[in-house]
Structure formats: structure tokens, C-alpha cells
């Protein structure tokens, strides 16, 4: 399964994701420069964390005008997997591939911590290696991670079971409905504020995030 990791100027978790997919999971991995437009060789697109284009104007707002984005949209139209982590999640909402928005954290500070999450769905390609309602602990690191959507959108998200991860215990950033990660209706696009790639190496103390990636590999193998 070939991973393509989009590199915008200002992306800074691109190598962290590649470390997991290429070095730990031994999957072919290509860094895709934001000026590239050919994603035909890629199975899974990952939009990594960071501060694309400095996050000027609004987080993820400028990235949507990058040349590579049309190819990402095409990838999405084909129903292929797209994972947006942190800034990647923000970009996916700016693109309209996922509903809602990520706004400034409730206490106005950047938060770096490790927080418990509940896995709400295990029937997605991303989460099938987790147990239903399993509690996992993943790192978060964001200043604008508070999930927001209007009432109708939120109700629709809940009704159609698009909430994949929810903060368990204290809500760190004030996200509505404790939302930490959502997918689209089709289930091929996942956006999440926590960093699964930072919890995929035993040596660093936690492998709670690895299942997001190994789940995908299991899909490909079956």
C-alpha cells in the first residue's frame, strides 16, 4: 500500500508520518511536493500536521489553493483513502471534504498533551483494528483544534455516525460533542486533531495510534 504525504511549505509532521509508514510499517512512501499534481501512484493520501503557509489568514485556508489540491479532490472522488492529521484536518474542512471547522482552543492557548479518546466506530477502514468504545491515549498539539459546526451539521454528523474519535474525560479544547476526529459519509476520508503517528513507535512509549495505519493495511490485504 503506497502512502503519499503532501508537503506544503510549513508542513512539519510530514517526516513523522513517513517514519511510521515507511520505516516502521515498511510501506512504500512518497513525499508529494505541493506543486506536484500526479497522485496516480498513491493509494493513501496523508495531509500531515504543521503550519501550512504559516497558517496565515486562517489555519489551512491557503493550502486549499495549492496545485496538488485538485489531485487530492480527484483521489477523493475515486473513493480512495485520505487522512488529515491536525493541520491536515483543518485543510480538509477548508476544502469542504469534511464538514465543520476547527477554531481557536477554548482557553486560547496552544495545547500539547496526551489525552484519552474513545473510538466511536470500528467499521471504518481506519479503525477496524480497534475495539468498539475502546479508550486510547493519543498526543495532541494544536492551537486551533476546537471542533465547531452548526446545529444541523452536528446533528447530521451524529445521526450518520461520522464521529470516529471523541475526547474521553476532560474536553481539552472545547470541541462540540467532544469531537476529536470525523469521517465523511463514505468513510474514505478521516480528519483528526490527535496525532496517531506520534503514538506508533513502542520506543516512544505508546503504540495506541498505530492501528489507524495497520487497519488500512489489513483492508488492503483482505
Amino acid at each position: 500500500m503506497k502512502f503519499g504525504i503532501i508537503v506544503f511549505p510549513g508542513s512539519n509532521c510530514d517526516r513523522d508520518v513517513a517514519y511510521v509508514t515507511r520505516d516502521i510499517l515498511n510501506q512504500p512512501t512518497r513525499m508529494v511536493w505541493h506543486g506536484d499534481t500526479d497522485l496516480s501512484d498513491i493509494d493513501v493520501v496523508v495531509i500531515p500536521g504543521g503550519f501550512s503557509y504559516g497558517d496565515y489568514l486562517r489555519c489551512g485556508a491557503i493550502a486549499q489553493f495549492s496545485p496538488v489540491i485538485n489531485s487530492v479532490l480527484e483521489h477523493s472522488n475515486q473513493g480512495k483513502p485520505i487522512l488529515g492529521i491536525c493541520n491536515g484536518f483543518q485543510i480538509l474542512t477548508e476544502l469542504g471534504l469534511l464538514p465543520g471547522a476547527l477554531i481557536r482552543n477554548r482557553d486560547l492557548h496552544f495545547i500539547c498533551d496526551r489525552v484519552p479518546l474513545t473510538v466511536e466506530r470500528t467499521d471504518t477502514i481506519w479503525t477496524q483494528n480497534y475495539d468498539q468504545k475502546e479508550t486510547i491515549v493519543l498526543p495532541i498539539a494544536h492551537g486551533e483544534g476546537r471542533y465547531y459546526a452548526d446545529d444541523d451539521t452536528l446533528a447530521h454528523l451524529e445521526d450518520s455516525g461520522q464521529v470516529v474519535f471523541r475526547y474521553a474525560g476532560n474536553n481539552p479544547n472545547g470541541s462540540l460533542n467532544e469531537i476529536a476526529g470525523i469521517c465523511n459519509e463514505n468513510g474514505n476520508i478521516l480528519g483528526m486533531m490527535p496525532h496517531p503517528e506520534r503514538a506508533s513507535d513502542r520506543l516512544l512509549g505508546s503504540e495506541d495510534g498505530a492501528s489507524v495505519f495497520t487497519g488500512l493495511l489489513a483492508v488492503a490485504a483482505s
Binding site: P9, G10, N12, C13, R15, D16, A18, Y19, V20, G49, G50, F51, Y53, G54, D55, Y56, H109, F110, I111, C112, D113, P139, A141, G143, H195, E197, R198, D201, L203, L204, G205
Partner: protein, 782 residues
Amino acid sequence: MSTVSASPFSPEEIAAEGIKPDEYEEIVKRLGRHPNKAELGMFGVMWSEHCCYKNSRPLLKQFPTTGKRILVGPGENAGVVDFGDGLQLAFKIESHNHPSAIEPFQGAATGVGGILRDIFTMGARPIAVLNSLRFGSLDDEKTRRIFAGVVEGIAHYGNCFGVPTVGGEVYFDRAYSGNPLVNAMAIGLMETKEIVKSGASGIGNPVLYVGSTTGRDGMGGASFASAELSEESADDRPAVQVGDPYLEKCLVEACLEAFQTGFVVAAQDMGAAGITCSTAEMAAKGGVGIDLDLDKIPVRETGMVPYEYLLSESQERMLFVIEKGKEAQLIEIFKRWNLQAVVAGTVIEEAIVRIRFQGSIAAEIPALALAENTPIYDREILPEPPDYARTAWKWTEDELPGCSQNGIEIAGKHCSWNDILLQLLDTPTIASKKWVYRQYDHQVQNNTLVVPGDGDAAVVRLRPTEKSAFKVANANKGVAATVDCNSRYVYLDPFEGAKAVVAEAARNLSCVGAEPVAVTDNLNFGSPEKAIGYWQLASACKGLALACKEFETPVTGGNVSLYNETIDDKGNPTPIYPTPVVGMVGIVEDVNSVCDRAWKQAGDTIYLLGQPTDPDTAEVTLGASEYLVAIHNTIAGKPPRINFELERNVQAVCREGIRRGWVRSAHDSSEGGLAIAIAECCISSNRGAQIQLPETLSRLDTVLFAEGGARIVVSVAAENITAWESYLQEHLSKNWQKLGTVGETNASLQIEMANHGGLIDLSVDRLQDTYDSAIERRISMS
């Protein structure tokens, strides 16, 4: 001097550039004529303490700077040490005190930006940042604003750049009320085969300007940083630079890519004094000259004059000397990252810095006069310690009220030892710094092994990126890093205090299992022109030098920040505590065996390494302690004396214990002494502890809260106790002691003493609440 006409500048104009009358005469001597306005400005910044160390150079000479792991010592943008297996680390510390006092957010942010550039200018990719911060009291509204702004500025720059901020220290003391200290240390892993240095070479080689544009921001920041702060300093706000971490993230990628081509001959970050400093230093180091045309420099505003170009401290800029003929290839790399890159000059044979502007020569100065042949002040050191120190040294424990098992009476109020312990845990200097480090991304890059708050030092795995020229088969090595300084010790006894700073840094590294390797230091002091200020600086440098020799940790560079004094409304200068911050790096041979401070399992045995609880009173004392200040409002006594041999032995034993898997947790005793160290192990692990102390002749507060003694608290599993104790007996003789056992989760901390009964009994919940909320509670007062 008779051939030279009268000065074209008034004494005020000369003083405004930070130049003293004698220095002006020296300038005229070096040039053989009067300088013009631009040249005067260039001398002003280059001859500032920040750039030329005119006061501190004679003292810095005594530092050990060589050793088997030292690849690059002082003098370059950063020091470089060899960690074996092709792993080379660049590291350096730098201050941004004065800018942070005036504009906390940008001052601190650009401090981080500057130190990161120092690292990647060498060809190293930044892998970790630490910082050492000092503020006034959090009871003061202005201090809270500065504190919050500094933390946010550091977070902003580091988080966006994508480097983990993995550790540091934060102190609160009224001595820093108007003059906070913001020292940032960065560590990078070399990515290029050759270390990139700053000496220009190759006559005719092009000089390439890269990065951001030049504007009027940060004009003359270096000379600003070398003057005392006053009410008017707030009007110096244009001297504070504005940083753009996004641009710097692009710059690091472009620079490392450019260095990999092998066509960059030399590189110099444009930090203090921007174009002036980079051209002068590159020329002087290379023994050549540089001819630079200001009309080629990309600008962000119009109508700038040479003086402004030359003194601008616009951020995220660098100067390269590159091989002739490779201009297009290198410029292309920077264009790809949307950065400026223009050929702005040439390396010339004549050792001068020649600056052109609009077709004529705007400045022409011998490079050595700017960067090497600079003033030096050998000052007289006070023959006797000053009065304030001698008075403080007269203090003895006998001045404290009597105490018993039940506690101590302070100003008519009875305090139990529980009360005292909680009050110390609530002291911002001791309390959890979670409010601070939670704002720093400390995990980006996926290599952080010990996160802030968990261990006595940060530990980061050394894993070269795919771009590195070095391939490492097994990324099993790590770097441990710490920044330390107990400045009250240094204030009360600069020589002994400075030794203690180095000893604590080495001890902190040993507590995570790392072998100390090298030091970068940041000397934050008051005015050297005052007798006491210079005595403090000179005595502390002597202590640092001695201790760095004793621990075999050479100094590879650093930063000097003098004139840290605020002038109050009545015009009285108030110096800060002398604060020689030591940043130390250590090698972790196997990242699978690192240690943090949390107890691991109920029933494990707790040991004290170092001076036992009935100690040598010069080495373990309440003098200069946090207890004395926080509880008795007394700043007095002599700080604990360092016993180098004991320190080295204890640290070696701790490291070996960790390596063999015996020691499961380790934490040194520092501010707050033994009781606080034990409480912190409980807090980190959410586990209790039962401590049984032998009867003692010492005062009970000395037993609980005295500092010093090379002490480390460790815990060991039952199955290893026999081996461990025989190892201790062999290597530490009497300098270890069994303290008690680790308790269950959510249990309590109980400290008892033979024939006295219980001294302390507090639930871990209570300890945690107090420790965790101390800073946040004060911040939310505003």
C-alpha cells in the same frame, strides 16, 4: 592625532551609538580618519558587549574548550560535539533578555528564531529546544503579562518551525521584576558531511544574501541589548525584531539543501547587527575582505539609508559565500521555497568590509577592526568579597525559630511540617511548570523519549532524516539536555554558586542515565562597570571554569548578556541576581534504558545517594535555600559547597544503576531539598511512599528541606536490592542510605523519624493538586 580634524559628531551622537569617548578615539586610530554616520553605527554594534565580549573576554579565556568529543569549540555560530557513529551535534544557548522585557511575545519568539539559525547555519537540523526563564513575582500584574507573553512567543516560534521544546527551567524572584531573563538553547543533528563554518574564502567568490527582506525593524538591537533598561527603553520598541517562524521553516529546508550541494563555502546567520556583523565576521574569520552592494539587498520598505541597511536586525536572513559559477543552482533552491536569494557582493583580497550604496562607497572599514581587534577591558577584581556577601555569610541556622516534630512557629503562627511542605510545593519556582510546557509542542519530530516534567533532563533520540548525509543503522543513541542555574546561590557566593550550577546540570543528566559531554553557557549579569557586578562576573567565571574541568565538560560557546539592571523611578539601578545559566548535553548510549523520576512499583526500595541525612553541614545546608526564602523570607547564608569527588561518584553510580536496570527512577534533590524531591517522585507517579529516617542531631527542617550534598533519590525493585547494595557499598562507602519504600497508587506520602514519630503525612492527591495548580491559579488572578 594632530592630522585628524575635529570630530563631525557631537558627544551625544557618539554616545547614542553606545560608544564611549575612549572608544571613539580608538575608532579614529584604526581608520586614520573620522568615521561617517554609517561606520559609526557599525562600530557601535560590533563593539557592543553582545558582539565583541569586551568585558568578559579576559574571563572567558579560562574555560576549558577542548576534549575528545569536541569538534568545534567557541567562535563559530555553535559548538559541535561528536556522539559517535556519525552522529554530530551542534548546540548553543543565547539570550533575548532586553527585547523580551520590552515586547515579551516577539522578544522571546525571535530569541528562539535566532538560536535555531545559529544551529542550522552549521549544517545541522534543529532537533530540540530548551529554555531558561526568569521573571519577577507572579503577584505582580506586569510580571504576569511578561511571563504569559514570553511563553506564548516561545511556543509560537518553536511550534510553527516544527522543533520540539523539550525542557527548561523557570524561576520567579523579585530580582528579575523589570528585567526578565529569556535564554534559549537549541540542539541540532549535523546533516551535512562537512560542518559549515563562517570564515569567507576564495577571492572572487560571490556573496549570496538569502532568506527574508531587509527593513527598518530591530535597528541596533545589539547595542540596545548592551545598555541598562529604563523607563525610556519602552520607546526603543523599534529595536525589537519581528519574527516569522514559517519563513524560517522554509529557510532551514532550503539552507540544508543548499549545503548538501557542497557549493557553499561559508555561512553566517544575520543575528545581532545583521549585515554589518555577518560581513565583518565572515571577512575577519577568513582573513579576507567583502565588497557588498546595498542596492542588491531585497528590501521591504523604501527610502532606507546605509545606516539603516547596516544595522537592521530583520529576522530570517543569512549570508553565504559560495563557489563561483554555482549561483544559479543555489538561487534556484531558495526560489523553490519562495525565499530571497541574490548575489550582493564578492570576496576580495584586501581585508576590509566595503559597503556600496547608489554608486558610491558608503563605508569602508578594516574587517579586523570590527570583529577581532576590538576593545578589551581588563578590570580590577575586588580583593575582598563585598559587604552584602560577607553580611549574608554570617547567617546561621541558630537564627531560625526552634522546631519540633509538630512543626515550627513562624511569626507567631504554628506551621506543621505538612503545611510547610505544601507551601513549598505551591511556590512557583518549585511548582509544576505544566502551564508553560503544555503550550510547547514537545513531541514533533517523533523522537522525544522523556517529555517535560517527567525526568530531570530531556531525552531525544538521535535519528537522522532521509536528507542526512549520515546513515545510522540502529537509531539507539540519544541526547539528554538540561539548562540550570540557581542564581540565589550565585548571588550569595558567585564562586561556589557557579560550581553548583555545573554540578546540578551534570547530576540532572545522570538522573536520566546520560553521560555529561559538553556545556554552552549564558552569562546574564549586571553592569561590569560596577565593582560588585564585576566581582560577581569574575568569581562566577572562575567557578564555572573549575567545575567544567572537574566534570570534563568543556565549554563550546555561549552568550554574554551584561547590564541586566533596571533603573527604578528614583534613578537607582537594581541589578538582577548574577545568573550564569549552563546548558549541558549528555550522551545516552542506549535509548532503551533511560530513566525518569516517577516511582514504578509499590514495594520498591527508596535510596538516598550522596550525603546522608546526618550530613556535612557545609555541603548540606539551609543557607541560600528555597525554604529560607519562601518560608522565612530570608536571603542569607552560604550556599552548599560542592564536593566534586562525591558528585562524580554519585553520578557515576546512578548512571551505572540505570544502565544495569537496577535503578527504576531517579530524581536529584535541588530546590526544596530531600522532602520536595521525594514528594515530586510521588506526584509524577501518583504513588505514595513510606519514608523512615534515622534519628539525627540536625534540626528537623534541615533534614527535610536543606539543599546540596550531591543527592539523588532512586528506587530499586526487590529482586535487585542485594546486587545494588553491594555495588553501593563498594563505590559510595557511607554516602548512601535506605530511605523507605514506594507505596500504592493514590496512597500517601509519610515521612517518619526514629524517636520522633511522623513528620509528614499527606495524600498524593493533595500533593498533586497543590503542585499542579500553583502557577495556573496565580495566572488566572489577572
